[in-house]
């Protein structure tokens, strides 16, 4: 607690930042530096020294002009040489404290402390980042900031052990290729690679058709499957790599004494997030189709007071076996009802609507393909499309109907929906701010409505899709008494 007391004077960050800043600036200025070096060597002068001196100078300047202090219940950060910038926030407004350590930071034993106050500002200048404190000092500071109130301090001092709720298991990487993020990484890398190859003129020298050249002896029947296998292998490798880099060492612990969750992850850049119990207003269990078929899922927390950019730090379980996800969800909520309870279905009208919405586009697509085949002599395989579309639409509608449901159990609103991405969202009733009843003309005709519980955390709302109107009013009324009741007729 000494971190918060007797610190009236301005203090600098750790002097080891003098090493980190120049290296980082060097990386940032790398393209410019290369240019300066080439020009410098060519002209035979001392230009390249200036190229090194400027980034190093900037780093030193940043170190000398940045200081912070914690005084009279406020944390203040002062920086800038020409534009003096002082950020100040009351300590009891601090909601989250993130410790992030890049590989350079880790080499010299430092970490960045990001103090989150739940501000809506997205300006980087408005962030309270203490970039560069020794790891143990950063941890002490985090303790002090999160338990600034006297009661919390008292609780924290009555020793309590951290309970490990989740520990990373390398076997989970089997789920990595099944998420869309793996595909995104792969697409980005393949796209970037083809750009590079293109700019090097690779495609001009190597015609893709060469692969099928009878002279070299490869046929398209061999080349295409080989290419596909190679693509799948590359995508798999990249997504596994991405998964490991982000999630290696993923640990979730709960400290009873101070009542907060600690998340830690990362292979190269390690990241530690602390969430106050009170800030965790619910969880969201997500199962994209690929993960669901393989028996996996992932879990994130609905946290109030996280900035939009920090949403990534609310991941509680990366893609992992379903049993692990459910176990962690129960542990985080402290009750098992919201995770396990059967959901109340939304009845025949909601089911009809699911089928209409899936089958109308499918039929339109099928009809178009059929017409193309009949009237314009398109190839015969087009005639299969109506069947495929119909089958796909039916499967989708059935699956979506099965997922649809809601319940109110043990003080939590639970909403289930989705097929391609199945979700079960759990939100504490105390964190429901208000209700939106949204219904299109079609929904009104069917007597259905989409009930939206608004909240300050996560995606800002939890939606119960296509619930019968009277059931929506009952659910909203039971969850938040005295609000809906006065407007019922």
């Amino acid at each position: 607690m000494s971190e918060l007391l007797g610190d009236d004077h301005w203090q600098r960050l750790d002097p080891r930042m003098l090493l980190v800043h120049p290296i980082r600036e060097l990386f940032r200025f790398l393209p410019v530096l290369v240019g300066v070096f080439v020009a410098g060597t060519a002209s035979g002068g001392q230009w390249h020294l200036i190229g090194v001196a400027i980034p190093v100078g900037l780093g030193v300047l940043r170190y000398l002009t940045t200081s912070f202090r914690i005084t009279a219940g406020r944390i203040e950060l002062r920086r800038g040489l020409l534009n003096r910038h002082v950020l100040s926030t009351p300590v009891d407004r601090v909601r989250t404290v993130d410790l992030t350590a890049s590989p350079i930071h880790r080499l010299v034993g430092l970490t960045t402390v990001r103090v989150g106050t739940g501000t809506a500002s997205t300006d980087d200048d408005d962030r309270l980042d203490l970039d560069g404190l020794p790891v143990d000092r950063a941890r002490r500071l985090r303790e002090a900031l999160l338990h600034a109130t006297p009661e919390a301090r008292e609780q924290a001092s009555s020793a309590g052990n951290a309970r490990v709720v989740l520990r990373f298991d390398p076997a989970w990487i089997r789920f990595a290729p099944l998420t869309s993020s793996g595909l995104v990484i792969a697409a980005a890398v393949v796209g970037g690679l083809s750009q590079v190859l293109n700019s090097l003129g690779w495609f001009e020298h190597h015609d893709v058709r060469d692969l099928a050249d009878p002279v070299t002896g490869t046929s398209p029947w061999l080349a295409v499957p080989l290419g596909l296998v190679a693509l799948v292998a590359v995508v798999t490798a990249l997504s596994i790599g991405g998964y490991l880099v982000t999630n290696w060492g993923f640990t979730v612990t709960h400290t009873r004494a101070d009542g907060s969750w600690h998340l830690r992850r990362g292979l190269f850049t390690t990241r530690e997030t602390s969430l106050d119990d009170e800030r965790v207003s619910g969880v969201s269990i997500t199962e994209p189709l690929g993960l669901r078929l393989a028996g996996g899922g992932r879990l994130s927390a609905i946290v109030t007071g996280l900035d939009r950019k920090q949403q990534g730090s609310s991941v509680l379980v990366p893609p992992a076996p379903r049993a692990v996800v459910l176990r962690t969800a129960r542990a985080v909520l402290g009750v098992s009802g919201p995770v396990d309870a059967a959901l109340t279905g939304h009845g025949p009208r909601a089911r009809t609507r699911r089928f209409t919405r899936a089958l109308v586009p499918a039929c339109a697509l099928g009809l178009a393909a059929l017409m193309a085949y009949v009237f314009w002599d398109y190839p015969a395989w087009l005639a299969n499309i109506p069947l495929l579309a119909l089958a796909g639409g039916l499967a989708l509608a059935t699956d979506r109907t099965a997922a649809l449901g809601h319940t109110l159990v043990e003080g939590y609103v639970v909403a289930g929906s989705g097929s391609l991405v199945r979700r079960r969202e759990v939100l504490a009733v105390d964190d429901v701010i208000g209700w939106n009843f949204r219904s299109s003309w079609f929904q009104r005709r069917a007597g259905l409505t989409s009930l939206v519980a608004t909240t300050a955390g996560g995606r800002q709302s939890v939606t119960v899709i296509d619930v019968p109107e009277d059931a929506a009013v009952v659910l909203a009324g039971d969850a938040v008494p005295h609000l809906v009741g006065q407007f019922t007729a």
């Binding site: 701010i433 949204r438 219904s439 608004t454 009277d470 809906v484 407007f487």
Partner: protein, 162 residues
């Protein structure tokens, strides 16, 4: 499951709001029409047959004729001692409820066009980005009075509104 349903909020917005919505619908339709004329006859990118043109004109005219009135029928609001309740939209109807204790800010805004008709809008925000309640098309005096009323009521309610 047959319980009591949600009733409409009690207050209508100003009848002059129809003029406001009529004006904006007209402008929107003219813009769409302008784009159609530009890509069709002028630049000759798309060939629209006469009946396609006719359909476009009829749809836009129907939009101008029907939607402002429809909006006016839907838009309603109500403020009680403990809650704010609004209903907006036309094709998609949205009813929003927020307890007085969760209100964070009350905004009063006069758009440039709304001012022409002596109208203003009042927006009530909560800590959720998904939960702002807007009452558009109020007479200015009524809107100011509503802002005062809401500010007092939200202030007397204890709690930190998160």
């Amino acid at each position: 499951m047959a319980g009591p349903g949600l009733r409409e909020p009690s207050q209508r917005v100003s009848p002059r709001a129809r003029l406001l919505w009529l004006l904006s619908a007209t402008v929107q339709s003219l813009l769409v029409l302008g784009v159609l004329v530009l890509v069709g006859p002028v630049l000759d990118w798309v060939h629209l047959r006469w009946w396609e043109q006719a359909i476009a004109v009829v749809v836009l005219a129907a939009y101008v004729a029907v939607v402002p009135q429809w909006r006016y029928l839907v838009h309603r609001w109500e403020v009680t001692e403990t809650a704010v309740y609004t209903q907006t939209g036309w094709w998609v109807r949205e009813r929003r409820l927020a307890p007085m204790s969760r209100i964070q800010t009350v905004d009063y805004a006069e758009g440039a066009v709304a001012r022409l008709f002596g109208l203003a809008s009042v927006t009530v925000t909560t800590a959720s980005a998904a939960g702002a309640l807007e009452i558009a098309g109020l007479e200015q005096a009524r809107a100011r009075q509503l802002v005062d009323e809401l500010t007092v009521k939200a202030d007397t309610d204890p709690g930190d509104a998160t």
